[in-house]
């Protein structure tokens, strides 16, 4: 767009601005809409996603909970209901959902680092491993640091270790972040890739502590719901059959943790921290000279991301009750990243869907011999999952480079309030039968006329 069509108005403004600004201190030009209050309702809304988002954002908090809670309960009930087509054949649907819960948590954590702050972390699996190994080292009888004999009650050891795992991974994020976050882009990616491998190799080679390639077994899990049917409680890996198996229980635990993580991350996003992250992602130097302490906020993103990854690792250790280094190889880092990119970097709900796709799809095909009456070799398809994810990513980059559910930024200072106001305005506008009218040309006209009048 050329600016040449209004240079006269602008220059007239510029020369008269001194006097107008003196006036403006006493009375704002009322023709201008209040600063920062108009945009959202007047933005052209591209698609269904935008409409849905606007609708959701305009709802009152209690209404959001009233809709959100039943929705979450429905998802939680999926492995109990076991809908015909959705239910996996080859592996138990409950364990698939439990795995989805863990990867979803990881995706939320990785999304803070990659999606929010724009720091490409290729070694995220390292934090997952540290979380899992923290729990395993503290509670496995194979470990020299096992505490379950001393002062940790075996029944609650897992729960007691969860905050420890969070703290240890957060500190490891700090340790990795403080020297490396001075690097940018590709360099950071390479260093984090190295970090992921270092963690795995340490686990593999510190035989005396981590058990090396043999791993650590009999990791603690919450011993609740003990009955004759479940002598070790419902969370035990022994509870493998039936509808309410251990997988389902772990899925429920992960849902609780996901909701908590989402609330924390959501609040951070809407705060000054979130705005700083977006600014850093967009242009680090510009953010710094806008007064954003970039290094500190990058470190924060790293630490928060790491802590969430640690929670997921602890979940994994508890559910499988057995950790070995091979579970934490670099391909998992890529898979986690795949979930984030697929879902839409920066969109914390989108990445959950991404995690679902990454975990569920291979399991959907596993063991399936026909779909809608068409015979298929599901196992073969599942074997080629990395090929299909690769293809999916290539197609995604061509047709939807920002992911399935691209993020929209909500960084205006008066965020929530604004959306409610915007919703009311939108209702009014659509009531008048003019949903498409963009009113933002109006203030400019007003400014111009005011300039002429002077």
């Amino acid at each position: 767009m050329s600016t040449s069509d209004t240079p006269d108005a602008t220059s007239a403004k510029a020369t008269s601005a001194k006097s107008t600004s003196a006036k403006a201190t006493t009375s704002r030009p009322t023709s201008l809409p209040p600063a920062g209050r108009t945009p959202v309702a007047q933005r052209p809304h591209a698609g269904l996603g935008d409409r849905l988002r606007l609708w959701w954002d305009a709802l009152a908090r209690p209404t959001q909970w009233a809709i959100g809670v039943p929705f979450i309960l429905l998802i939680a009930a999926l492995p109990v209901i076991r809908p015909p087509l959705l239910t996996t054949v080859g592996t138990d649907f409950g364990s698939v959902m439990a795995q989805f819960g863990m990867v979803a948590l990881i995706a939320i954590g990785l999304n803070v680092v990659v999606g929010q702050a724009g720091l490409l972390d290729l070694g995220y699996v390292g934090f997952y491993a540290i979380g899992a190994y923290t729990v395993a080292l503290l509670t496995s009888p194979d470990s020299p640091w096992n505490l379950t004999d001393d002062w940790l009650s075996n029944d609650w050891a897992w729960l007691a270790c969860l905050p420890v795992a969070i703290a240890v991974t957060a500190i490891s994020g700090l340790i990795l972040g403080s020297p490396t976050l001075r690097l940018r882009g590709d360099y950071l990616a390479i260093v984090t890739l190295g970090f992921g491998e270092i963690v795995r190799l340490l686990a593999d080679n510190l035989d005396s502590v981590t058990g090396g390639g043999r791993g650590l077994s009999q990791v603690a899990y919450p011993r609740v719901g003990v009955s004759e049917e479940h002598p070790n409680g419902v969370f035990s890996a022994g509870n493998a059959s039936g509808t309410l198996n251990a997988g389902v229980w772990w899925f429920w635990v992960s849902i609780v943790l996901i909701v908590i993580a989402l609330l924390v991350v959501g609040n951070l996003e809407r705060s000054r921290v979130g705005r700083a992250w977006v600014a850093i992602r967009e242009d680090e130097d510009a953010a710094e000279i806008m007064g954003v302490p970039t290094f500190r906020f990058k470190l924060w993103a790293f630490v928060i991301g790491a802590a969430i990854g640690g929670i997921s690792g602890a979940l994994y250790a508890g559910q499988v009750q057995f950790v070995v280094p091979t579970n934490f190889n670099v391909i998992n880092s890529m898979l986690f990243l795949c979930a984030v990119v697929l879902g839409g970097q920066g969109n914390k709900l989108g990445v959950i869907v991404g995690a679902f796709v990454v975990v569920y799809l291979p399991n959907f095909f596993l063991g399936r011999t026909e779909i809608f009456g068409i015979p298929i070799d599901g196992n073969e398809i599942a074997n080629y999952k990395y090929l299909f994810f690769g293809l999916a990513l290539v197609l995604l980059m061509i047709f939807r480079p920002q992911g399935l559910f691209p993020a929209r930024q909500k960084l205006l200072t008066y965020g929530r309030e604004l959306y409610v106001a915007a919703r009311a305005a939108a209702r009014k506008v659509s009531g008048a039968g003019d949903g498409s009218g963009r009113a933002d040309a109006v203030p400019a006209v007003d400014v111009a006329t005011e300039g002429d009048a002077r």
Binding site: A9, T10, V292
Partner: protein
């Protein structure tokens, strides 16, 4: 006492020194220009003042306070605000969001003050008001430049650093930008301007420094330098 006082400052990129002992001062309320050819060290000077580059020698004193080793984001709190070279607007944020980032560190005491400053920016750049919902990255070069200056103004700078605001813009828009820079200065903001467009910059500035390969080779009132044969020869393309 000068608002900004740079004494004998050297800046090096690795082993290559880009500035060899530059000294310059900016008085309160002045519009001071730094002109020079490509590679003379203009942008390096700017980056040293805003803190993105640490000087290897010398000192920078702002308002009586030594800021030579101060972090860039803390200099912002002191009131040194830069509109960077190549504009540096946040490409994915709308105009309004970009402007909001301007006052990220130097927050307003009241909403009214905030609105007032925003209205003032929109008055200086009506084009920004028109495009307040447009995403920064999709705007034209001139508009991005306006946005970069407007965003800097949202921080109510005590010293505004403008790095080549005319770069890559059409002559008509350059003239417009310079008029607004003069206007901002006339309203009381001290401005340090880096420019290659010597004609426009010198005629509007109180004082100017000429940089050549990392050294200040001339300084004086803008109009005097404009008349200086050597400057004319080197930067204005007329003998």
């Amino acid at each position: 006492m000068a608002l900004l006082e740079i004494t004998d400052m050297s800046v090096a990129y690795g082993r290559i020194e880009a500035l060899h002992g530059v000294s310059l001062t900016v008085e309160q309320g002045e519009l001071v220009t730094l002109i020079g050819a490509n590679g003379a060290g203009k942008t390096t000077t700017m980056r040293a003042v805003s803190g993105l580059r640490a000087p290897s020698r010398g000192s920078i004193v702002f308002d009586g306070k030594d800021i030579t080793r101060m972090k860039p984001h803390l200099r912002v709190l002191e009131g040194i605000i830069q509109a960077p070279e190549g504009r540096g607007v946040f490409p994915g944020m709308t105009v309004t969001e970009n402007l909001e980032m301007g006052c990220y560190a130097r927050t307003f005491e009241s909403k009214a003050q905030h609105d007032e400053t925003l209205d003032h920016v929109f008055e200086l750049f009506p084009r920004l008001a028109e495009r307040r919902d447009q995403v920064g990255g999709t705007m034209s070069g001139g508009e991005q430049q306006m946005l970069a200056i407007g965003r800097a103004l949202m921080a109510r700078p005590r010293l505004l650093l403008l790095d080549e605001p005319s770069m890559g813009l059409a002559p008509m828009i350059i003239a417009q930008i310079f008029r607004i820079v003069s206007e901002i200065n006339a309203q009381g903001t001290t401005v340090l301007l880096v420019e290659q467009n010597a004609q426009q910059a010198l005629s509007r500035s109180h004082r100017a420094y000429v940089l050549e390969t990392g050294n200040v080779v001339r300084s004086g009132p803008g109009r005097e330098l404009l008349a200086d044969p050597a400057v004319k020869d080197a930067y204005l393309g007329v003998a």
